[in-house]
């Protein structure tokens, strides 16, 4: 169900419940927070605060409202019934977006412990009318007007970033409480302060108060962390004592009123929006009263509470503020949310740092600290960290002692985390971080009832799929793309972007070989139901496939290793994300400059070279790419010698592959070198190879490989000499074998066609002593085992029937097989044995 509103007036509330004036007066609990029979009661809560939620439920029960108005987009009223629908599990978020421009979107997330969520449930379960009262999303997302209090401000589109989190307060958990246990800050009302002291305090706190009112109150109470202060006076109050404390809301509203005086913001955009929001809320309250509602409960961020208290000022001013507010067409829906995204860490303005902890506080029936630490111990054990019950006991003791030391009513998150660090994790920050991710933030994923419509990313994907004639089918379908046609190119682009987002709907098909595909790409698509969740997961990156993929790349470029970065460059090119690419290349350049390890550079280069080539096929500008690749090659050349000398057996094998990779990459880069200027990379690379190959302390495998590379490049005129030298008597057998392996690995062509070389090899084998031969046989056989059967046959054939006379090499005296006498040649028999070749 998508609510699309484009109306002028504040939303009209449906005729829900009947009026019950008399009844309400009768059920009023005289002990309840002094609310009595007030026609409007404002409950200023802290967004996502479980303590607020508990207090709120108690207060609602006591007040018995006939309508509940909740801070939230008023045009989302029709979505409220979904809250209690089968299949809806918090955390979920209200999502509003402009259908024609899904980039412009806003989220209003709710967890099970969010007061707003509990208020909705409370009202729905009792059949009490419930509605949202904040500025409709249609106005939140609208382009801003030119004239509205700020004449000098130019007209401009709503900033999508600002809009995304337009929901909650910009101040995390704005709101405050002066509960019975709380200290009274000198600025917030009474206090035994002289006017001078008060003035001084005001001056010192005015700045802070305008930015973060909660922090101002907390610092006045001597807390450095506003969250902790709030936890002490509101969130933890129900665990403090057995008796139910009185409602905190009246004191809260009073304190906020004082703070608002202090923090009267200048007339900037923010203040302007606040003004409009509060005007709208007041108008909604008036409308409810006008319809005859006798007991209106308003649930809003504590910051707004003083502005909404009854009696309200005349409506004229508010009507003027709201007049002419622009609107746009919006779509609204519920989407599943996660605790991770509730956390402040992911950028949600009104988030909380510890949704997992709050969820625990909300759900734990008793002993929250003990239960929490037991859960932590369980999580650590799952990770194979030895944590005994004795550990847990000690951790609980430490947490409680700390709380006592700090005069807190009970151990809070700070105490249990410190106890976890000191006792359960033995000071290991890594383990603590694991606990934080897993439990403190939590991994809960909400769900929405079936029938609730789609997120913008999904909508964008569906639109593109329609254009590109792609269907979501449960069976595997192969797409053979010809990149020369524009539709296939668009498809390929989409597929690559989806891959960047880890959406497994389409995966590269079997026959695709990265280094060969230039015009063809093969993909396979298969739709699974859980991809819907993956799409929502990916929606956090952006509202269109393109923007989400770009954001994802940006995240990689911030954290990835050099190799991951060049991999990302390749995928970025394929997915056609030029902006992300530019950013990526900047990071890449910086990282390459810093990375002293030539090995990393060598790992990184091939992908970059491939990317450069692909970019050309797609007509992307790759000059930057090319310059980065050139710098990489130069850096590799500078450090190669140091990196390869002294390499051991395992290192040498890995290094050989790297050298091959770099060599191929240099070839790719060189193949496209511009004639005008530019560095002669190939010459540089070969010169480096040559200098390195001459080193005596090089591993045999690498020595052989480098000579082979140089021979292939026709850089050496003394290959036979080098071969002979490498295999001469002074060299240990194992080294010779490694040399041969390096030289011949991955290709027999040279051996088949170069009679001179073949002779050298043959002579070497023939010249081996029995013992030596037994030593090197497995090594040499390993090399020849990599040749294909056809190559081995060809080689055997050549040895049996030499096409031309073999000129005698330095060690080839014993070879020179005369016609028809091959049976007598021990060397040939040996080669037969080596090659596994039988006539």
């Amino acid at each position: 169900m998508t609510a699309t509103l484009d109306t002028e007036d504040p939303p009209t509330l449906g005729e829900g419940t009947s009026l019950r004036p008399g009844v309400n007066d009768l059920v009023t609990d005289p002990t309840s927070a002094g609310s009595g029979g007030a026609p409007v009661e404002v409950f200023g809560i802290r967004h996502h605060g479980p303590g607020s939620a508990r207090s709120l439920l108690a207060a609602l029960e006591a007040y018995g409202p006939d309508v509940v108005l909740i801070e939230g987009p008023a045009d989302a009223d029709s979505l409220i019934p979904w809250v209690t629908a089968e299949g809806t599990e918090p955390p979920v978020a209200l999502l509003a977006y402009a259908p024609e421009e899904p980039r412009v979107a806003a989220f209003w997330p709710y967890a099970v412990f969010s007061p707003e969520w509990q208020a909705m449930r409370w009202a729905l379960e009792r059949g009490v009318e419930v509605a949202f009262c904040d500025l409709p999303a249609a106005q939140v997302l609208a382009p801003r007007p030119a004239t509205l209090l700020d004449e000098e401000e130019p007209e401009h589109e709503a900033d999508p970033d600002a809009a995304v989190f337009a929901a909650g307060d910009p101040r995390p958990g704005a709101g405050v409480d002066l509960g019975p246990g709380g200290q009274v800050p000198p600025g917030a009302g009474s206090g035994g302060l002289s006017p001078e002291e008060r003035a001084r305090w005001l001056a010192a706190h005015a700045r802070l108060a305008s930015r973060d009112p909660l922090a101002a109150l907390a610092s006045a109470a001597g807390y450095d962390d506003p969250e902790r202060w709030w936890d002490d006076v509101v969130e933890l109050r129900h665990h403090g004592g057995p008796a139910r404390p009185a409602s905190p809301f009246p004191a809260l509203t009073e304190a906020m009123a004082e703070l608002r005086l202090l923090a009267l913001a200048p007339r900037d955009r923010e203040a302007d929006r606040e003004r409009r929001r509060e005007a709208y809320m007041r108008q909604t309250i008036r409308a409810a009263r006008k319809r005859g509602r006798q007991r209106v409960a308003v649930v809003c961020g504590a910051w707004h509470a003083p502005a909404l208290t009854w009696p309200l000022p005349p409506a004229v001013a508010d009507a003027r503020v709201l007049r002419g507010t622009p609107k746009r067409k919006v779509a609204l829906t519920w989407v599943p949310w996660t605790h991770q995204r509730l956390a402040t860490a992911t950028g949600y303005g009104a988030g909380v740092t510890s949704p997992g902890w709050y969820h625990h506080l909300w759900t734990a029936p008793d002993q929250p600290v003990v239960r929490w630490l037991a859960a932590v111990a369980h999580a650590l054990r799952d990770r194979d960290l030895p944590v005994s019950s004795a550990h847990v006991i000690e951790a609980v003791r430490l947490a409680e002692t700390l709380a006592a030391l700090r005069n807190r009513p009970m151990a809070g998150l700070a105490e249990v985390t410190e106890a976890t660090r000191a006792v359960l994790c033995e000071g290991d920050d890594l383990a603590v971080r694991f606990v934080t991710d897993r439990l403190v933030v939590g991994q809960a994923l909400g769900s929405v009832a079936p029938g609730v419509p789609t997120v913008p990313l999904d909508a964008d994907l569906q639109r593109q799929s329609r254009t590109l004639r792609l269907r979501r089918e449960p069976q595997v379908r192969t797409h053979d793309l010809d990149l020369r046609t524009s539709i296939d190119q668009a498809r390929s682009r989409l597929f690559h972007r989806l891959r960047l987002l880890d959406l497994a709907w389409v995966v590269p098909g079997e026959s695709t070989v990265v280094s060969q595909g230039t015009f063809r790409e093969v993909w396979e698509s298969q739709w699974q139901p859980e991809y819907a969740i993956a799409l929502v997961e990916a929606a956090v990156w952006g509202t269109t496939v393109e923007s989400a993929a770009a954001a994802r790349v940006a995240a990689v470029s911030r954290e990835g290793s050099l190799q991951e970065l060049t991999g990302a460059v390749e995928r970025c090119l394929l997915a056609d994300l030029p902006d992300a690419l530019a950013e990526l290349l900047r990071t890449l350049e910086a990282k390459a400059a810093l990375d002293a390890d030539v090995v990393h550079l060598m790992d990184a280069l091939p992908a970059l070279a491939r990317a450069e080539r692909y970019g050309d096929v797609r007509g992307t500008d790759t000059s930057v790419l090319r310059s980065v690749a050139q710098v990489l090659v130069l850096r590799i050349c500078a450090g190669l010698t140091l990196a390869v000398v002294g390499a051991g057996e395992d290192d040498a094998a890995a290094m050989r592959l790297r050298i091959d990779g770099v060599s191929a990459a240099v070839g790719l880069l060189e193949a496209r070198a511009d004639d005008a200027g530019g560095l002669d990379l190939r010459a540089r690379w070969l010169a480096t190879c040559r200098a390195t190959a001459d080193r005596a302390d090089l591993h045999g495998l690498l020595g052989g490989r480098l000579v082979r590379l140089l021979a292939d490049a026709e850089e050496l005129d003394d290959v036979p000499l080098r071969f002979g030298r490498a295999l001469s008597h002074g060299v240990p057998a194992a080294r010779k074998a490694a040399w041969v392996e390096g030289f011949f690995a991955d290709g027999a062509t040279l051996l088949i066609h170069d009679a001179e070389l073949r002779g050298l090899l043959d002579g070497w084998v023939a010249g081996l002593a029995d013992e030596e031969f037994a030593d090197v046989l497995p090594l040499v056989r390993r090399t020849f085992g990599t040749f294909s059967a056809a190559e081995r046959r060809a080689l055997g054939g050549r040895l049996a029937h030499p096409p031309e006379p073999v000129p005698p090499g330095p060690h080839a005296g014993a070879v020179g097989p005369p016609e028809g006498a091959e049976e007598d040649l021990p060397a040939l028999r040996t080669v037969d044995l080596l090659l596994g070749w039988r006539r």
Partner: protein
């Protein structure tokens, strides 16, 4: 228990230097105290982090850093768990341990210095062999270790560099920490710890694997990791105050405080340590040394000594350059590369640093 230090003690104990503060705190403190504590946990935290008492006594901050670390440490001591302070060299582990013991028990002298040669006697008890041979085993012939004395007195024992102690000797602590008793089979008795006894151990987590604690022993400790200072200002404050104290106790000729040079040393140390310049523009290679605050302190102190005895009595860049370069270059090959790169890329360009640059160039 606290005896005044001899007037010319090179380094008086914490409880001697701050005797006045300790007295004032204990006097002003009306909160509940754990058995045999000289003051309440709250007062111990105040003693370490500084503050002003109701009667106007100013308590100097001894440790500049996160309050929660000190709170966890003190809370640990208030439970009967032992405290293990971990950290790279120069993060004030021993300093904190000394002051904790001074504040809690009024004495920081019951201390075992852990070395690879530390024997079991240093943790349990030894014998006066002349007496042992003459009289046989008796209480008079027994020489109790600091740990045993702390158990009997109900006070804090300190063990420095716990991981330097051989593993079999470390294990002697297990009974002490879990059973809170030390059997003396030769005399057929045991020393039972009285309330107030606890152990503060320090260990260096850079030398991992020296003598890794067994998990049985590790389990008896709550661990607090002391970090390097978070921001430059607090590090400058630490260095400045410690340098002033040290200069006073070493009776160096007075040299006017040179905040500029201290700031410079701290900035160089921080930049090299984090591998990033303060303005966040340039990445740097980090040298292999710890470059801890303690080293910064000693660089500045030796600079002051240089300028007082050989210079013009004012701390100048060439007084600190020698010590600074020595602290940075620990590995003659890689560290030198890092340092010279830093010198030429960052320092040379920096405004107002040319004198310092020249001084560093000279000593390299």
């Amino acid at each position: 228990m606290t005896t005044p230090a001899p007037a010319d003690a090179l380094r008086p104990h914490a409880e001697q230097v701050y005797a006045g503060e300790l007295r004032a705190l204990a006097g002003a403190d009306d909160r509940p105290r754990p058995p045999r504590w000289r003051m309440s946990p709250w007062a111990v935290v105040t003693y370490l982090l500084g503050g002003t008492l109701a009667d106007g006594t100013v308590i100097m901050p001894k440790y500049v850093g996160a309050r929660r670390l000190v709170e966890v440490a003190v809370a640990t001591l208030a439970t009967d768990r032992a405290l293990l302070l971990l950290g790279v060299p120069g993060t004030a582990k021993s300093w904190v341990s000394e002051h904790l013991a001074a504040a809690v028990s009024g004495s920081s002298t019951l201390m075992v210095q852990g070395t690879s040669g530390t024997a079991e006697e240093a943790i349990r008890y030894g014998w006066n062999y002349a007496r042992l041979i003459a009289e046989g085993p008796s209480d008079a012939a027994l020489v109790p270790s600091p740990v045993m004395r702390a158990m009997e007195a109900g006070s804090i024992a300190r063990i420095e560099e716990l991981t330097r102690i051989p593993a079999d000797v470390q294990d002697a602590l297990i009974t002490v920490l879990s059973e809170k008793t030390l059997p003396v089979p030769e005399l057929g008795r045991e020393a039972q710890a009285r309330k107030g006894f606890n152990v503060i151990a320090t260990a260096n987590d850079r030398d991992k694997g020296v003598n890794e604690l067994s998990s049985a022993l590790r389990r008896r400790f709550n661990t607090v990791v002391l970090p390097l200072p978070v921001d430059a200002e607090s590090e400058v404050a630490i260095v400045a105050s410690r340098v002033a104290e040290l200069a006073a106790s070493l009776e160096l000729p007075p040299v006017p405080p040179a905040m500029e040079e201290i700031r410079r040393v701290v900035q160089v140390f921080r930049e090299l340590r984090s591998g990033l310049t303060t303005d966040g523009r340039t990445r740097l290679k980090s040298p292999s040394g710890t470059l801890s605050t303690a080293e910064a302190i000693s660089v500045v102190t030796s600079g002051i000594s240089l300028s007082a005895h050989f210079g013009d009595g004012r701390l100048r860049p060439d007084d600190i350059a020698g010590g600074l370069v020595g602290a940075v270059i620990r590995d003659p090959v890689t560290d030198r590369v890092a340092w010279e790169e830093y010198l030429d890329v960052v320092i040379r360009e920096r405004e107002g640093w040319s004198e310092f640059y020249e001084a560093c160039r000279e000593v390299r």
